[in-house]
Symmetry: D2
């Protein structure tokens, strides 16, 4: 059992939760997805995030999904455990850490505003979970309405050793990576692992800014693996070929439907169903995605469907 | 088993969830609270709302609390069943309706903005729960960031017969009550039961505007019962005596702590504990509340502690 | 010409801008208002705030109003100079300070979120205005969506000597006053003058917490003067008599119409008109305010109209 | 003098306001920009928008800029006239319409939430400006926090003939275009001109959805002209070449600095200065933009700098 730490690097694929059209969990597709991610070379997995429709799961289902993934792979697995109460958060954390999870991811309550409130929340959460559970801080203002400043993150990194990773999804966010790395170099804070989200929309420059990799759910994780691995022109050429689709998938609300549609077309998900209330693709949107896929296949032949 | 309907009137007390200092449920205090509310003459109870710290409960605990209340009283009981997924919402609804609940209360997801989104959400929720479950719509922009216009509520009332009650907590909100009642009289919408929240801060005028009563958690439910029953100067005299405390209790964030402190001082709660993360009273705040109680007792001797 | 400073105390009445029904400035009423405020014993005036409908004025009108007030009274006058650009802010500031203003008030841009952003904004604004212009920071999250933490205010007080006063309108806000005063006593920050807003809704306790007074626009400034002057039971008795009306006037959106209606009934404003787009009182609202006035006159005979 | 109407098509370039490094207006650069836009074939211009730093201008400067543009070109010019008060809005509108403006653009106040509020605001604004002034509605939730539903826009189009154009910047927004066009075809609303913003980020698909063109400020307006003119694969090829830079320029906050930097490098702006408070490019950001320009020049040789 390996844990994530402040030097963790690479690509952590965010795993969507597969459902049957009637809303039941589809664990077969889940296991197929896990095998697929391992085969394309990701370094870890993340389950039960927003992309995983975690808020729509019962507590039992959350455990069922996390355990199914943990039992299927040797990759490190980060589990989303966000909850309004620390008691519930602690219970799920215990259930997945004892089964071999590599760490947990915690989103901020949407009511946090000031630096003190943000630092205080993660301090309390870390205390509730105990010092041995590595924590990922989710920094996604567009979804959570919480803006995490560099000084707030610096304080968290200094005061709470079990916070080891930042899931970086601020927008714009490039300068934030540079500012955190500069603070580290100036000895103002210990190193944090910085893994980038936002569907990869700025991953071409995020790596050059000092990010450690990607933690996101783009429907071609192969691209994330390559962009993290490549440098210079090669990186940009490949990234630019995918950008039209990345941009389309990154639209709020509809993004998950795009992702499930492509994973379904790739034969990985038996169904592209979401739990209700859901946002499905219209016919025109499906056509637009399919056109983007067709154009992409000309420049990255591995994406041919 | 009586269900709430579009003519329901009176006072529905919002029941806080009692905890032991270590975070465990305190069902003894819960039953004592239920008996107390019945004794002071409320017309119904509401459990598992925000005041009930519902988001911090496990799904099993939610059922445990609702059942404990339902088993203790013959009063109609409304149960909060808000959940990100309709599946979870449906499961809890079934568990409490078959045990004798009078209806369920649903808060809007904080992402809803337009009239169509709001109407659509309650239409889908009502479909998911089935036509036999009476629904209370929670209209509390300050907490949920969702502003429900009169036309949106009119459409919900017209199109979804199982939505029978509005928990009215808009601020300002007096004109909204008048506008809804005018729309009813003009035949533009069927009648809705309108029960007012906001800790009772405008209950003196809300009744005159046409509200059916109060659904809120003020620490002296006796006052709510009287204000709903009295009229004219008598109503205002009593209300004004309580207003300094009502205003203090109505402060966002700290209100629940005030409420639990007073219920604890009244001997109803064994402890004023909240689940973590919690907002407790400082020493000065306790002194301020106690001063308000002392002053209140001079004008309403029933409140002597 | 006296300037506000970090020890300024008392009541600064926020002056509404009088308009004729056709939208023109009514400077006669403005001068009558100024004389009235002086007669009831306020310690200063504030013009061109939100209550003054400042955003609806042309730049020339803003100067005209400020100068009319400055020319009419020897009371210290604070002028709202909030503007998206520092150039415009500087121009208006120069125009009023050279005419004898006591200081300027600056609201935060609604996009500020983190402590650094807030501190940075006031640092830049103070630099733009120069070291000799005393600045009031407006802390009103409900209107501006900006939450100012105690550490952020402490940094502003430490780093920017020309920021001398906090217009305190956070809600809840009592603990914030205590925290600032404690930080001062611990030597963590220099003293700030704290003047309370929110229509006076918590002024009874704010004074005991250490506030220096009130800066708000309640339609009976006599009450503000007395609550600041009195202590103990006497303070509470008087305050409680006014609370039903204070609470009604404090409703967002409609509050200014209540205020202008009462000042009109008091014979101070020739018209209760606002500039378009405006929110006027309905017939029922006027009746409700008049009922509150009638009830108030029984307990505070000075308010008889 | 030609006015915009409900059939207006093509590209309206949003003109940034050029400043000297000391903050003074640079009207020479402004005229150079106007000539440039005309030379590359845009169909119209828009001045005094957010991109034009309109809120940082004095009222006199706003007129000066609008007149300088109107005097320089025969292209139709839309002028941003957003203001908190209708009086100010009306004054600026009169000043530019009598000088030959083609219409005015109005952003919604950030406090609007419900359909009724939004429809009511534009109805009142149109009444204030009179029936002969063509109005552009700005639909940009990310900046203004106002979400305009299709039914709200339909009502505006039906009830207010002088609203002729939608500046479409919702995100996601493709389905909204389709829904508006479908409502038109079903006879539920008259036609609106739909001009797309968001820096062009979805212009490849927006045109196919039925948009009439682009109204945005991308630093290569040539690209907008071509994407509107071309179809099919040709459109996508060219668009995809620019997408990496479009995406970079579209970042909130920093976008205007990118735009001014490129227009400065193109020799059109003498300085890339913004008015204070401003957000300038860091050295690394400039390098990133320059890299994107270098890569772009390989695929679209016209962009060679």
């Amino acid at each position: 059992m390996s844990l994530i730490n402040r030097s963790t690097r690479g690509v952590y694929a965010i795993v969507p939760t597969p459902f049957h059209p009637d809303g039941r969990l589809d664990l077969d597709s889940l296991r197929r997805l896990v095998d697929f991610y391992a085969a394309v070379g990701v370094d870890g997995l993340t389950v039960l995030g927003q992309t995983g429709e975690a808020p729509k799961l019962t507590q039992d289902e959350s455990v069922e999904i996390a355990w199914a993934v943990l039992d299927r792979t040797d990759l490190p697995v980060v589990v989303g455990v966000s909850a309004p109460g620390f008691g519930t958060m602690r219970t799920l954390t215990d259930q997945v850490m004892t089964r071999g999870a590599a760490g947990v991811m915690i989103a901020p309550p949407t009511t946090l505003r000031t630096d003190d409130q943000i630092v205080g929340y993660y301090t309390q959460a870390a205390t509730a979970l105990g010092p041995d559970v590595p924590i990922v801080v989710q920094d996604h203002p567009l979804t959570f309405s919480v803006v995490m400043s560099v000084p707030a993150l610096r304080r968290i990194a200094c005061e709470t050793p079990s916070v080891v990773m930042l899931k970086h999804e601020d927008w714009p966010g490039l300068e934030k990576i540079s500012a955190l790395r500069a603070a580290e170099e100036n000895g103002e804070m210990p190193r944090l692992s910085i893994m980038c989200g936002n569907g990869g929309l700025f991953l071409d420059f995020e790596m050059a800014r000092g990010a450690d990799g990607a933690m996101t759910g783009y429907c071609f994780p192969e691209l994330l693996v390559d962009v993290v691995r490549l440098t210079g022109d090669e990186r940009h050429e490949l990234f630019d070929a995918h950008l039209p689709l990345i941009r389309y998938e990154q639209q709020p609300g509809v993004g998950l439907a795009v992702r499930k549609h492509v994973l379904h077309r790739r034969g990985l998900l038996r169904s592209d169903a979401q739990r209700k209330p859901e946002r499905t693709l219209t016919r025109t949107e499906r056509d637009e995605v399919d056109l983007l896929l067709e154009r992409l296949a000309r420049r990255d032949t591995r994406t041919w469907l």
